[in-house]
Each structure stands twice: as structure tokens, then as C-alpha cells.
């Protein structure tokens, strides 16, 4: 009889692990809290993915299609794990759907519950939700995705846009000391996109460090050399309202200008990633552990990065820390291997 494996979360990591497992013959149950698959990239309608600007729909859409088409994957939409019990080396799990409740026994489990975008309203200095023209990284992706990039305050195209990095990351005041890894690259990507589609609109990036790690550095150089994106070193201290319906970014250019106050038509906050309430939910229900940053904790970050503290339960994707979509997909495959080995050995 085929192995029964539970995958919690239908984002990039969960989808890829589910399909991989089904492809090698396992019976996969994929539990997704939303009424659709694809996770945050789908929910917030990401437009293009870095580094090669592939349309997000092509990547995420393909992952979804593979899962939906696969007979080995049973998808539970708008569902959650309501009861979780260890039964010798297996797990008795109740999956609660809107109209039914089903209890099944699984040989192993993959948790791929992902992340939540930091809510920039929690850091008052950015005046998010106070000024219509202050938006964040996911708002911009959605606007680009809907082909509706205009100033929320008046529906006009902006003449200049500021990108502010490290919002909700690397800041003890908001409780997140870690770097969210992808926001620098996403912001640089967005600035390039903006300059390509609206050549009359100036783009500024305010940074404390630009962490376009690895090959993503190419984007950073390209932004300066080919797209004339202004890159200013200095974290923004305050956003206030300015003349002619502008928002003013106030800060110190730590390399060149000293104090500055620049009026912008729009400001985009590069809000980071957080473990979200779903991480704590997994801790409560499955007996997992959180790390000091609020993400799920692997047993050993180098030797057993996909194992949780509990035998038979594996972790993949952004639930263990900020991650690019490509990394999450890789982890989905790797965790699938671990989960399959465990299931086969303990049959």
C-alpha cells in the first residue's frame, strides 16, 4: 500500500513537495487554509519574479496546475488541521474542511505554512495607512499585477517614487532583528520595472545595506547603470505630508548630502517577512518549536535543515525563515525526500 503523507500549506514549497511525493507514488493530502492554492504569491498577486522577471503566474500557475492534475494529490481547500495525534510512529490527523471533517492516518508530515508580510502600520514613522500614497511591497506587486499603477490619492501616475528598505526588518523596535533576505532584491526589481514602464518617473531607493545576495547583485548594478535608479544610503526617519499632495521622506544621506527632506508622489515600503500566527498554530497543534525570531525551528540548521524537533514531521519553505520563492521550491523537494524516507522506513 502506498505511503500516506500530509502536506500542510499550498504555497510554492508545499505544492512542490506534494507533487514530488505523488510522483514517486505516495498518497498526498494537501491542506490549504485559503480557497485557492499558491500561497502568498497568489494571494497578493505577485507580478514578476526575480532574478529573471518570469511572470509569477507562469511559475506559481505551473506549480498549481501540476498539483491539481495529479491524482496522487488530494487537495483540501479552506481547511485546517483540527486534531493531531501521534500514533506509534504514525500520525492521526483530523482535517477540517468547511463542510466536512475527515480523520486519516499519515506516515509522515510536511509543514510548509510559509510567512506573513510585516504590517508596516506597526512602525509609526512610515505613516502607512495614514497617507494614501504610502504603500508597501505587496501593494505595489498587486498594483503592477492588475496593471493599475497610479497614485492611490488621486489616480494620477506618479512623477517620483521612493523605495524604503528594511521596513519591519533589522529593527529591535519592531521586534525583528533578522534580515528578510528578499526585500532588497524585490525592491530593486520593482524600481527597474517602474523605470521600464514609466520612464518619466524617477525612482529612489533608500537603504542601510543593499543585500542583493549572490547573482541578484546583477539586478542592483543594472538598476543603476541601465535604469538610472537613484540609490541613497540612509534609513528614513519620518514620513510627513508635503506641499502639492506629496509625502516627504526625511532622513540623513550618510555619505553625501547630510540631512534631506525630499517630497515624493509615492513611497513604497519594503516590508519584510514574519513567521506569522500560523507558525505558533503549528507549535500548538503539532508540538513543534519556534526559534527566537518567530519562525519554525529545524532540528539542525546545517545537518538536518528539513527535520523538525519531532520525528516524522518535516519543514519546508519560508516557515523556517525568510526565503526566496526559488529556495522554497528547492526545499519543498528536499523535504519531500526526507518525508518519504521516514514513511518507507516506518511502514
Amino acid at each position: 500500500m502506498a505511503e500516506n503523507i500530509l502536506v500542510v500549506g499550498g504555497g510554492p514549497a508545499g505544492l512542490h513537495s506534494a507533487v514530488t511525493l505523488a510522483d514517486i507514488g505516495a498518497n498526498v493530502s494537501l491542506v490549504e487554509r485559503d480557497s485557492f492554492l499558491g500561497g502568498n504569491p497568489k494571494k497578493f498577486k505577485y507580478k514578476f519574479l526575480f532574478p529573471d522577471m518570469q511572470p509569477a503566474d507562469d511559475v506559481i500557475g505551473e506549480l498549481i496546475k501540476r498539483a491539481e492534475k495529479n491524482d496522487g494529490v488530494k487537495i483540501y481547500y479552506s481547511s485546517n488541521v483540527s486534531n493531531f495525534k501521534e500514533n506509534e510512529k504514525k500520525f492521526d490527523v483530523t482535517i477540517k474542511s468547511p463542510d466536512a471533517s475527515e480523520t486519516k492516518t499519515f506516515d509522515s508530515v510536511i509543514v510548509a505554512t510559509g510567512f506573513e508580510h510585516f504590517d508596516p502600520a506597526r512602525d509609526a514613522k512610515y505613516s502607512y495607512q495614514l497617507f494614501d500614497d504610502v504603500i508597501d511591497i505587496k501593494d505595489l506587486e498587486r498594483m503592477m499585477g492588475e496593471n493599475n499603477f497610479v497614485r492611490p490619492s488621486n489616480g494620477q501616475p506618479p512623477k517620483n517614487v521612493a523605495f524604503i528598505l528594511c521596513v519591519g526588518s533589522r529593527d529591535r523596535h519592531v521586534g525583528n532583528q533578522y534580515c528578510s533576505r528578499v526585500c532588497c532584491t524585490v525592491s530593486v526589481k520593482q524600481a527597474i520595472e517602474l523605470r521600464e514602464r514609466f520612464p518619466d518617473c524617477d525612482a529612489y531607493i533608500f537603504y542601510m545595506d543593499i543585500r542583493t545576495y549572490g547573482f541578484f547583485e546583477d539586478l542592483y548594478w543594472k538598476a543603476m547603470e541601465e535604469h538610472d535608479v537613484q540609490i541613497v544610503k540612509g534609513r528614513i526617519a519620518e514620513i510627513t505630508s508635503g506641499p502639492n499632495n506629496t509625502v516627504i521622506c526625511k532622513g540623513e544621506d550618510t555619505l553625501l548630502r547630510g540631512p534631506f527632506e525630499i517630497p515624493f508622489d509615492m513611497v513604497v515600503l519594503a516590508s519584510g517577512m514574519e513567521g506569522g500566527p500560523q507558525s505558533s498554530e503549528m507549535v500548538d497543534k503539532l508540538g513543534l518549536e519556534l526559534n527566537e525570531h518567530g519562525f519554525l525551528k529545524p532540528q539542525n540548521v546545517t545537518l538536518a535543515p528539513f527535520k523538525s524537533n519531532r520525528k516524522g514531521i518535516f519543514l519546508a519553505g519560508a516557515c523556517t525563515g525568510p526565503k526566496a520563492i526559488s529556495d522554497s521550491i528547492v526545499e519543498g523537494g528536499a523535504a519531500a525526500m526526507d518525508a518519504y524516507i521516514y514513511a518507507v522506513k516506518n511502514k
Partner: protein
């Protein structure tokens, strides 16, 4: 104090080192000085940075350099440019407190009676006198054109006919112009004890000896009454 050929005082490097050691020994030092990424958010939010050559980021960086020369260079005028609003401490992602460092350095300057402290505190001698001797801060008769030129063109009007104007205040006042409120002798004596214990009188003696003499006379009078 030694002087060079231009009449500029030569501060021995040993003394500068001592100042730095004193700052580092302060119980608040560890809390105020942490890591720094030079993000500039402190200076960005700093009101004086907008107008003067003053930057809380530089204050922290100089402190972190552990170079007594750099720290000494701030003791002269630099530390007195800070408003002590602590916006920097409120927004620093590391929870550093450049404003707190300034407070530590200022206290050293005052405790040691450094020239810069004397110069800065001179215009406040009347306030210090009122505060320490009478337990009052500003009284209306202190508002005079000579002392508050920055109050603008109406300072002349504001300082004239004080007694009548004070009577017009629709709240109970003391109907006097030389006190803001009445402090009982018992309260004043307690205040003096606190100033004694906290070393306030000693500090005033070191930065302004003649002011201290005046205060001492008043204190003695009240204590013996």
C-alpha cells in the same frame, strides 16, 4: 593648564583618556552604546541635525571608536548642540541612545567644571539660582529683553506692567512677579538636602563659584530660620 604658541590650551592625552574612561564607567554606558550600522535614522530624525553641524550618528560612532581624541573633540561645543529630545533613542534599530551618551558626557563636563560647561551654563545662572535657592524655575520678572532676545519683537511689551498682567490671569496666582509659586520653608529645606546628597551644590560650585556663594547665603538663611 599648558598653552601652545597661539595661546590654545594643550590638553594632555592622559586627561582625554581619563574622560573616556569616566564615560565608559558610567552605569548607563552599556545600555546606550550597542552596535551601529550607520543607517543614519537617528540623524534623520534629529532636530538639530537639520540645522547645525551635529549628528547623533557621529556621536555614537566616535564613542564606538574608543579613540579618546575623537571623544574629547566633542566635549568642547559639540555635546551642547543636542536638544536632549531623545528622538534618536526612540528610533534607533539597535536601541542605542546617542542622546544618552550626550547626557553622560555633559555630566562629566559639568562635574569636572570644564570650560565648555561653564560657558554654556553662564546664561542660566538666574534660572539655577531660582531653582536651587527658591524651588522656582522661571518667574515673570525674569522675562526681560536683555535675557530673552530670542522671544521676538514683543518682549518689551511682554515684560512691562507685569503686576497688572499677572492680576489678569483668571487662575489663582500668588499676585507677585518674583515667584512662580510659593514653596514652604520645610519643602525648601528638604530640597536643599536632596541637592546636597545628589551633589548638585558641588557641581554649581565647580562651574560657577560666585553663583554658588549667593546660593550658599540663601540656603544658610533658610536653614537657620
Amino acid at each position: 593648564m599648558e598653552y601652545d604658541e597661539n595661546g590654545v590650551s594643550i590638553v594632555p592625552s592622559e586627561f582625554k583618556k581619563e574622560i573616556f574612561e569616566e564615560a565608559k564607567k558610567d552605569f548607563r554606558y552599556e545600555e546606550y552604546v550597542r552596535g551601529c550600522l550607520n543607517c543614519g535614522v537617528c540623524s534623520g530624525g534629529c532636530p538639530p541635525h537639520r540645522f547645525f553641524d551635529f549628528s547623533p550618528r557621529i556621536v555614537l560612532q566616535k564613542m564606538k571608536s574608543k579613540d579618546p581624541e575623537l571623544i574629547w573633540a566633542m566635549m568642547d561645543e559639540y555635546v551642547w548642540a543636542c536638544f536632549q529630545c531623545f528622538t534618536c533613542a526612540m528610533i534607533c534599530p539597535f536601541l542605542n541612545s546617542p542622546g544618552g551618551i550626550i547626557a553622560i558626557l555633559r555630566e562629566i563636563a559639568v562635574r569636572r567644571g570644564l570650560e565648555s560647561a561653564k560657558k554654556v551654563l553662564k546664561p542660566y545662572s538666574r534660572v539655577l539660582l531660582k531653582l536651587t535657592a527658591y524651588g522656582n524655575q522661571l518667574s515673570s520678572d525674569m522675562i526681560q529683553p536683555d535675557f530673552f532676545p530670542d522671544w521676538g519683537p514683543h518682549i518689551g511689551y511682554a515684560s512691562a506692567d507685569l503686576a497688572i498682567k499677572r492680576k489678569a490671569i483668571p487662575m489663582p496666582t500668588l499676585q507677585v512677579t518674583n515667584l512662580a509659586w510659593d514653596v514652604a520653608p520645610e519643602a525648601m529645606k528638604e530640597l536643599y538636602d536632596i541637592f546636597d546628597e545628589a551633589g548638585v551644590f558641588k557641581i554649581i560650585e565647580s562651574v560657577d563659584p560666585s553663583l554658588y556663594e549667593i546660593i550658599e547665603d540663601i540656603v544658610d538663611d533658610v536653614r537657620n530660620s
